[in-house]
Symmetry: C2
Subunit: 267 residues, 2 copies
């Protein structure tokens, strides 16, 4: 069982990914982002992304009701169905699902976030963000056993039936845990993990858990979050995480060959 | 097997529908529209709906690439996942799918449409509209047998992997044919089929096929299309079509009781 997480960058080569997936022998679940498309549609709709700066200095998305609607339209709607269509053109019977469908990604909403605004700290109670706590594995197996490729994205859903935004990399960690997947591929717009985020030739070919810990100390922003999710995935029993370049031909095959960055569990 | 088609009007009472569905004994597939939401989002995005006027006087949607994107966002994204969430709050394990997922609604794109523009007739070749030709019944049965309620909407998809807009009422007819469903419920924002579209007290309690034919002669616009789809469904083997008011409590139960309009096959 392989989990393939594909970032939402504008440069991701979905045709190459589809071609690559169609040649894979093992069963596979795809999880995708849609960040670039979200930004483009937000711009068209005149919606600006709001963020929350926590007292500890963490920045996160403020998913107000308008942002949640937009996210649901773009991720579960446009991006997901475009991907299903591309995969179909390469002969892959894909089924696109959000975390709400069959409570695939069941999670908890963060009831309160602290937000630093100038000299004040505000309490934000209406942000539809949270974390995935469990995955409906039986629905995934049902589809996989029938030969379908599940293509998953946000939003997730709570016990109360609220749609929530969640970090897809952390959702992948819980998905790997619940599916018992030992290998995860993560594709984004870089040749792998970079020592210097501004230099594509500074790729780090492999890391063990201790090296990951050191790397985490220097990482920032989006990449820091990604590496925290990687750490979580390893703690959940994943053995190898293959990061690779989603802009190239054969991105999955090449990542699995170690041409990006391989992060290995010490276990 | 019951098919429940729910219109996309703003007044549709989804809580009442969910409550009603949760009490149904027989397996069921839901198909939904999202017209009001589509209009609201189009307005926000500054997109105006384009239509094609055929030489024979028929008006239809001109689904240019922008309209197709919007439709995919609103129908398969926002509307579909909101419905899945409402159903979940009523204890129904719903799985929302577009016609692209697993090629659920496989169709053909209309390659050329004739459009009357002033004194000229133009050929339109880029409209992503078409008709459903077959339904992936095995995917639906897989989900139904596992206890899930499939919640379906547009877009459909072609053999070539193009997303297309289709008339959902006609998609329901093909769905009924392929599932072998004998009964279809259609809910919208009226107490049933009205003799006079402006008078809600002019409900027609029942029609046989010949009466439907007469009714069709007078019907116009949206309702005419709906009745043509009903006629198609009857020709495909559906025995009874129950039209009813989606704004009320227990809308499905009441429609099945004959409180709206029942259209019966002569067969």
């Amino acid at each position: 069982m392989l989990i393939v997480k594909i970032g939402g960058g504008a440069g991701i080569n979905w045709d190459a990914i589809a071609k690559d997936l169609s040649g894979l022998a093992e069963p596979c679940v795809v999880v995708h982002g849609a960040n670039a498309l979200m930004k483009a549609v937000s711009l068209k709709m005149g919606v600006t992304e709001r963020t929350i700066l926590s007292p500890s200095g963490h920045t996160s998305r403020y998913t107000d009701p308008q942002a949640l609607d937009l996210l649901t339209m773009v991720y579960a709607g446009l991006a997901n169905k475009r991907i299903v269509a591309v995969l179909g053109r390469h002969g892959i019977p894909a089924v696109g699902l959000s975390g709400a469908d069959g409570r695939l990604f069941l999670g908890k909403r963060k009831e309160v976030s602290l937000s630093v605004e100038g000299a004040k700290v505000k309490m934000i109670r209406d942000s539809a963000t949270g974390t995935v706590e469990s995955v409906n594995v039986s629905l995934l197996r049902l589809l996989l056993d029938a030969g379908y490729l599940p293509v998953l994205t946000v939003p997730a859903i709570t016990e109360k039936g609220e749609l929530i935004n969640v970090d897809t990399d952390r959702a992948v960690a819980v998905l790997a845990r619940d599916l018992g997947a030992k290998r995860v591929v993560m594709l984004f717009e870089a040749p792998g993990l970079l020592q210097d985020p501004n230099r594509e030739d500074s790729r780090c070919p492999s890391l063990n858990e201790r090296e990951l810990e050191i790397f985490l100390g220097q990482a920032q922003g989006r990449m820091k979050k990604k590496l925290l999710a990687v750490q979580e995935a390893l703690s959940f029993g994943v053995r190898e995480i293959f990061m690779g370049d989603g802009r190239t031909e054969q991105p999955i095959t090449r990542s699995l060959r170690g041409e990006g960055t391989v992060i290995r569990s010490d276990a």
